[in-house]
Symmetry: C2
Subunit: 442 residues, 2 copies
């Protein structure tokens, strides 16, 4: 086995990495072939097992090989594409066995056949599809949304108050130019970059947890990543404070449908009687993340300003999907889907937290709120967040790191898209990865 | 007939308008019933025929009644909705018999069955639809677009250079924050408000036809509303000037597919070798306006800046429609549809201009470019633009006014969505409306 090592003083494992990468790209190690075992490879190359293992981990992180439990590493089929960053991520994604990080939708929960029927029916409305959509969103959909949130969130508004867009960002692009009276905006945490980036692009000063800002952006049913919700007393306090200071509240009612452990808390919009609150609703967690339809309810104070500028904006959401969603809601399927998902996720969250408690034991800390599809797990480890992510990826496990501290990492574990049967094996694998590293450090 | 007139000194015709509007809204004049003739009504109310006619025109403009040729006015079915501006527009739209203003797509040209098949196939890719889309757009679609514009517009780029979004505005929302080095932008005319509004929202100074701006936005295949295109010499001159001054060109290649009278002119992007030019392409005129998918090709200078911010933006275009479009293009249907539309619109433009020349004769002026689906018609009239629009609307005819001058109006007549058989009757009706008014002025 000929192998040039330490070219230009680069780490040994990178030379091993490049050697195998070339063999794979040249097709000399075709897709599906088994990589030599660590022991064998280490013996042949006269290198330490750690060096070989690091090379394999990097190959796996880049998607060239994949680890199969109890069996070893195998070559994947993803050769030939240029290794630019977004591709690497993409290639790697394809090969994950377990994804504890995904906020996608449970595959069993969504009735594709039903949605397909509504899309087909929408596509038969040839005449409507031949023209551009209404800038504000299809009128019938807005009427239907108004009724839906009146019944479920006690929000009293009309179709005229509702603006539809392809996701929350598209709505913020319409909203921000209406808010020239304000200069500062507060977000609960720096994590919602898709929101704060838009405000920052429009020249707003972005603060965090600063209730004295002109605009207060909150997601009251998703206060923390692990599903804590804002209690009604704090909602009322926020309304009083904002009203006193003349601030505007933007209420992103994300995941209000997934409040399990108590009755849904009233929306801030309804508590404020629609004064000084923009209400935002979405469907990505209820239907499919790939359906890009969100909506906002404008308070009286912004309606006139919007109307004057409404003609400046094209509608971004697909007209066919708007028509389909409208009829889907009218026929009661959204309500049924919400009930189904709430039941499903409540059960899955219980299973996931139980599995985590059982597998990680007393040394780990678990945080769960009363909503959402995600828990936080703090484990003692010497890994950095990035290193644990890479090590997990090499074993086909995708994880999300929330925070790092001395000797511990906090991970976010999502139950939504993973089948419950995978919780135990996925968490066992995670435990093993964390433990091996912890042992090797001793 | 009891009728309160001149309440608070309002014009008589508005009292008549309100009287009938109330009768209609209360259901006392149900949908389909015939309105009294102008003569009869004028006799009964002891008011001039002009007053009655103005009231009827307003009722028609608001969608409460509609004029049927040789027969009189009839009550429409659109009662009960609040009369806010966007609804009025909407209600009125429903009742147009002829629409000379629409830039929609010819109903016969689009193969709905074919598109439905591709959407259905996309909707069967359950697993892909369960996750959020790539922020930059589906990779396969970007690859396919790169190949498509390489073959057709001589644009050499890779999938990595392409960003997909739900319409041009969505792309500008991503682009503007990357252009902090510039402060001024030039548009060809004030008419593309959907573009200039975005730049203005981001704090750019918007100029018109000012080649010394930092950013030059051009639609070279759509220089005027009536389809003039930018000759190659001016494209080269623009590139030289921009390169000399360090300006950025944004090339919206809108309607480059509809250049009939000559070979398509090379894109500015290709002439500049991709240096200092952002290329924008769309499908709303080729497929369906309701499909919201556009894309931009970033020049090298902006690629790095985009990559650093790419994760901040969610994709706005429907994932199912992206998957469908990708396969639709790969199977050659977009190219076939483009050929079909170019033939169709070339024939329709010829018919429309001939019909206009024949009906309006020597007193009217016609302007037609070598591309697009719209001609400009200047007719002598004493109508204001708004008054002619209202009068035409009252006869079920929708028109678009480009400009007004002393004793003349310039209208934009679009051939795209109207069947060719309607050209003669629609233009005859338009001629009659213009003539009646001109006569009554004598």
């Amino acid at each position: 086995m000929a192998l040039e090592l330490q070219k230009d003083g680069e780490p040994l494992y990178l030379s091993v990495y490049r050697y195998y990468k070339d063999l794979i790209l040249q097709g000399k190690l075709p897709a599906g072939s088994k990589m030599p075992s660590l022991r064998k490879c280490s013996g042949e190359l006269h290198l330490s097992r750690t060096t070989i293992e690091n090379a394999y981990l990097q190959l796996a992180a880049d998607g060239f090989i994949i680890s199969k439990a109890q069996s070893g590493y195998y070559v994947t089929g993803i050769t030939g594409k240029p290794a630019v960053p977004q591709n690497r991520e993409k290639a790697a994604e394809v090969n994950y066995i377990y994804d504890l990080s995904s906020s996608g939708v449970d595959r069993e929960s969504f009735r594709f056949d039903l949605w397909q029927r509504y899309i087909k029916s929408a596509l038969r409305q040839n005449d409507r599809l031949l023209s551009y959509g209404e800038p504000q969103g299809e009128y019938e959909l807005r009427e239907t949304l108004a009724q839906y949130i009146r019944e479920r969130r006690n929000i009293h508004c009309t179709a005229e108050d509702i603006v539809v867009g392809a996701g929350v960002q598209s709505l913020l692009h319409i909203l921000c130019p209406l808010l020239k009276d304000y200069t500062t905006v507060s977000f609960p945490t720096p994590s919602f970059v898709h929101g704060s980036a838009v405000f920052s692009d429009y020249g707003f000063d972005v603060h965090y947890r600063d209730k004295d800002c002109g605009i207060i952006f909150v997601s009251p049913a998703h206060m923390t990543k692990w599903g804590e919700i804002m209690p009604i007393s704090r909602r009322l306090e926020l309304i009083r404070h904002a009203s006193h200071r003349g601030s505007l509240i933007i209420e992103d009612d994300f995941e209000n449908e997934f409040v399990y452990l108590q009755k849904p808390t009233p929306s801030i919009y309804s508590l404020a009687g629609g004064q000084g609150v923009v209400y935002i609703g979405s469907f990505s967690r209820l239907l499919l993340p790939s359906i890009r339809i969100s909506f906002m309810v404008l308070p009286r104070q912004l309606r006139e300003a919007y109307l004057q500028r409404a003609a400046l904006y094209n509608q971004t959401a697909s007209k066919a999907e708007q028509i389909a969603l409208c009829q889907f809601i009218r026929d009661g399927h959204l309500a049924a889907q919400t009930r189904r998902l709430r039941r499903l996720y409540a059960a899955k969250m219980k299973l996931l937290t139980e599995a985590a408690a059982q597998i990680f034991g007393a040394k780990a800390k678990i945080k769960v709120g009363s909503a959402g599809t995600t828990m936080a797990l703090t484990v003692p480890t010497r890994y950095s967040g990035e290193a644990l992510k890479n090590a997990a990826a090499a074993h086909g496990l995708k994880i999300q790191v929330l925070s790092e501290s001395e000797g511990a990492l906090t991970l976010l574990l999502s139950c939504s898209s993973m089948p419950s049967d995978d919780f135990i094996p996925a968490l066992t694998l995670l435990k093993n990865i964390v433990t091996v590293q912890t042992l090797s450090e001793l």
